[in-house]
């Protein structure tokens, strides 16, 4: 009894739902739709498929030629420098993704380490020109004037006997 009643209710629900969206054909509406259609704008020539494909091909060709010309126009020095640049013999070693590695990275990334990496590390000592022969210094030429200048000064003692105790006009 309950099942048949529920079945009837389901049928009623389906029927009402179908009626809620029931829409028969309408010739008048069709005429209205057709009357409202605007003139279709003619497709511009640049929207045609062959034109689009040709334009795309021309763009790719132009980009290729431009890139090639840029490469050939580069200065000789830059190209030579690029050729002479050292090539790393070994690929970079894979870095372990462990907690210790992360800690080490964070330790290296301190401001001091960044500053030291930016400092000039040129080895000036090794860059000096080596000395082949050591020449002795000529000391004879400078000995005489040096002695005169460096001679010790001798002072004679002052003799006081020559001095008169009484001056003229005084008694």
């Amino acid at each position: 009894m309950i099942d048949s009643s529920r079945h009837e209710l389901d049928e009623a629900i389906d029927r009402v739902a179908a009626q809620m969206v029931a829409a028969p054909g309408d010739d008048r509406m069709l005429q209205q739709v057709l009357a409202q259609l605007p003139e279709r704008p003619a497709s511009p020539w640049f929207l045609a498929k062959p034109v689009q494909l040709t334009a795309a091909a021309a763009l790719v060709l132009f980009a290729f030629i431009y890139a090639r010309a840029e490469r050939e126009a580069a200065p000789i020095e830059l190209r030579q420098a690029a050729v002479d640049a050292p090539v790393p013999s070994q690929p970079p070693r894979p870095r372990p993704h462990t907690t210790q590695a992360v800690t080490a990275d964070s330790r290296l990334a301190t401001p001091v380490s960044r500053l030291s990496s930016a400092m000039d590390r040129t080895d000036h000592e090794r860059s000096l020109v080596p000395i082949d022969v050591i020449e002795p210094m000529e000391l004879g030429a400078i000995a005489a004037p040096a002695l005169e200048l460096d001679a010790p000064a001798s002072l004679e003692p002052l003799v006081l006997t020559d001095l008169s105790l009484a001056t003229k006009g005084e008694s």
Partner: protein, 212 residues
């Protein structure tokens, strides 16, 4: 005639049409070239289904017709963008659905701003009652039940009501509904089932049908 005898085909799932109709392709090709007669034939063939789609979204026939008109004009303008002429039906239905949704949103905002009621709860169902030989009391009860059902369906959440009414139109497969609503097929089936279950439960609480 009882309610059980008033059978209406429901949830008819049309067979998949993998092969494009040559006549459809020919009409689309002609319409692309600016042939209004060919486009009129296309619209005429799809007009009833388009109106049902729009009705499922907006609820009112006048609003649905305006949405279909807007969609037809938009389809006429964008016909060059249709890659596969055999896919005209699904393409046109999606335009109709979007136009109807735009209309529903604008109507909803207008009602909420000036009317104080939502569009979902407004209006009365336009149900067609077939001639019946039943007694006046039975007819009256049947009409009361139908009005209650329509009210309950209108009060369903949109996410349940939309797929339920689209399926009730009998024009669309689950795949088509899923494409229209941009949801998976499994979700479509679940929502349709859930809409039916909620409707039945509310009607039973209102005193219609079987009580548990």
């Amino acid at each position: 005639m009882t309610l059980a005898e008033l059978t209406v085909p429901m949830l008819i799932v049309p067979p998949a049409q993998d092969v494009a109709d040559p006549e459809l392709v020919r009409l689309v090709t002609l319409a692309r070239g600016g042939d209004r007669v060919a486009f009129g034939r296309l619209i005429e063939d799809h007009l009833p289904a388009a109106r049902r789609v729009a009705l499922a979204a907006v609820g009112q026939p006048s609003d649905a017709d305006e949405a279909v008109q807007e969609a037809s004009v938009a389809a006429w303008k964008r016909l060059d963008g249709l890659q596969d002429p055999g896919a005209f039906r699904g393409w046109f239905m999606r335009i109709v659905w979007r136009k109807a949704l735009d209309r529903r949103r604008s109507l909803r905002s207008w009602f909420e701003r000036f009317g104080g009621a939502t569009i979902d709860a407004s209006g009365t169902p336009h149900l067609q009652h077939p001639a019946s030989d039943a007694s006046p009391d039975a007819v009256l009860m049947a009409r009361q039940l139908e009005a209650a059902i329509a009210q309950v369906i209108k009060a369903l959440p949109r996410r349940l009501r939309d797929p339920f009414l689209l399926a009730a139109s009998g024009d669309h497969r689950y795949e088509d509904i899923a494409t229209l609503l941009s949801i998976p097929i499994g979700t479509v089936k679940w929502r349709i089932s859930e809409a039916r279950r909620m409707t039945r439960a509310k009607l039973e609480r209102m005193g219609h049908g079987a009580r548990r």
